[in-house]
């Protein structure tokens, strides 16, 4: 048996990925349905038993994100995770990380809301994730895993992108992927890298100017220039980092757009439709920001309609409508409150809406 293949929960995969990728620090606070991340890390105890990675349970979600801010300022690979209500608490810190251009990975294993909501899976944090969440003009790169393997892989990808662009990055998971168990192919364990970027604050030495990390620019013109710098970076990310996957789109007349666990269900819907001779395909955005708008425009030329399947009242559907400029019918189907729609249910609703 290959020891690099394991049956793991989605949350455990994120934790193991953090250790194997050489992440320097994890700061978190328990909340269902993502507590296995901190539980797994605490049990593994990488600080004393593996590669020296720091694992700390903070006194609150707010403390955890600010610890990430401090560690990221020191040039370290730092991450935190939570679920919806806890992620809301972190938003001030996320805005500061974006403003100060600090790289980090944040994981949201989404549960139903608003408020304390439910502990069941949901995708209702889409707006918060891609439209801002915190204050000010900023974006995070948002990766949406739909398998336990992607939960694992996106930790490494996330840190690579976060450091490449000096930006906080969000892995937008959900309670279903976090809790379900699947086969995961693990990568080789990397030692932690002690080198830090030249902008990091590590203590000034006489041979260089001081480094300082700030998101404060009191002079309006200086602040506007900083905003322009950020926007330029976001344009660059839009040009280079859009990721998506297509399923049976080559001759599709109808298209489902779905991410995360909804994409898994929708794949089954596409198979069912195809068996009945209906030319249905699927586009699964992997980056929710930047959004694969351009590809949707290309595909829309051959389409008669698009169905967005999301576990929310309809959030991503707005970005799909914006992408295709409402030139073709775009509809939404989704369940809320932590209920996952069945493939049959989605298929029946697709037929009612379009056929």
């Amino acid at each position: 048996m290959d020891s690099n293949i394991r049956l793991m929960k989605g949350n455990e995969a994120i934790a193991e990925a953090a250790i194997r990728h050489g992440v320097d620090a994890y700061f978190g606070y328990p909340i269902t349905p993502q507590s296995e991340i901190i539980e797994y890390l605490a049990k593994e105890d990488p600080f004393t038993k593996r590669n020296g990675m720091v694992v700390l349970q903070a006194e609150s979600e707010i403390a955890a994100i600010n610890m990430v801010y401090g560690a990221a300022g020191c040039g370290k690979k730092a991450m935190t995770s939570s679920s919806s209500p806890g992620i809301s608490l972190k938003q001030e810190g996320v805005s500061y990380l974006a403003g100060a251009e600090l790289p980090c990975v944040i994981v949201n294993v989404v549960r139903g809301g608003p408020g304390l909501g439910t502990i069941q899976p949901s995708q209702a944090d889409y707006f918060q994730s891609v439209k801002g969440g915190g204050h000010g003009d900023y974006h995070m790169i948002v990766l949406a895993p739909s398998t336990v393997q992607e939960q694992y892989d996106f930790v490494a990808l996330g840190f690579d992108l976060a450091f490449k662009y000096r930006t906080p990055l969000l892995i937008l998971s959900d309670g279903a992927i976090g809790q379900m168990m699947e086969k995961v192919v693990l990568s080789e364990e990397k030692p932690r890298d002690n080198t830090v970027p030249d902008w990091a604050i590590v203590g000034k030495t006489p041979n260089r100017e001081r480094n300082y990390i700030t998101s404060l620019f009191l002079d309006a013109e200086v602040q506007e220039n900083q905003n322009k710098r950020l926007q330029k970076k976001y344009t660059e990310i839009r040009q280079n980092e859009i990721r998506f996957e297509e399923f049976m789109t080559h001759d599709a007349e109808y298209l489902i757009v779905a991410y995360g666990i909804s994409a898994r269900i929708s794949q089954k819907v596409v198979e069912t439709a195809r068996n009945q001779g209906i030319k249905l395909g699927m586009l699964r955005p992997i980056t929710l920001w930047p959004f694969p708008s351009k590809r949707l425009v290309e595909l829309s030329q051959q389409l008669q309609g698009i169905l967005c399947v999301e576990m929310s009242a309809g959030q991503m559907v707005e970005d799909v409508k914006l992408a295709v400029e409402c030139k073709i019918p775009v509809k939404h189907y989704g369940r809320m409150g932590g209920i996952i729609a069945s493939p049959t249910e989605v298929f029946e609703n697709f037929k009612t809406l379009f056929l």
Partner: protein
């Protein structure tokens, strides 16, 4: 106004000894604090101590919220701004 550099040379020529100078841990930026405010003195004292202890390269400053949020304009050490 007297040419300070020339005056300094004149004094040194007369046998004066340099017994105090601004710490290297302060930048040359003029403090922006109001007259009577103690922030500037506090900054200077802390930066002098950091230099005296020889811990500059082990020190990271955290700029707080309020007038001294721009402490990194004055403190010549690695610094990070804290959240509001």
């Amino acid at each position: 106004m007297k040419d300070l550099e020339a005056y300094k040379k004149e004094l040194l020529a007369q046998g004066a000894k340099k017994i105090f100078s601004k710490t290297k841990n302060l930048t040359d930026t003029a403090f922006s604090y109001c007259g009577g405010c103690g922030h500037g003195v506090a900054h200077r004292l802390i930066m002098e101590v950091v230099e005296e202890l020889g811990i500059t390269q082990d020190t990271i400053g955290v700029a707080p919220v309020g007038c001294s949020v721009i402490a990194y304009e004055f403190m010549n050490i690695d610094m990070i701004q804290a959240a509001h």
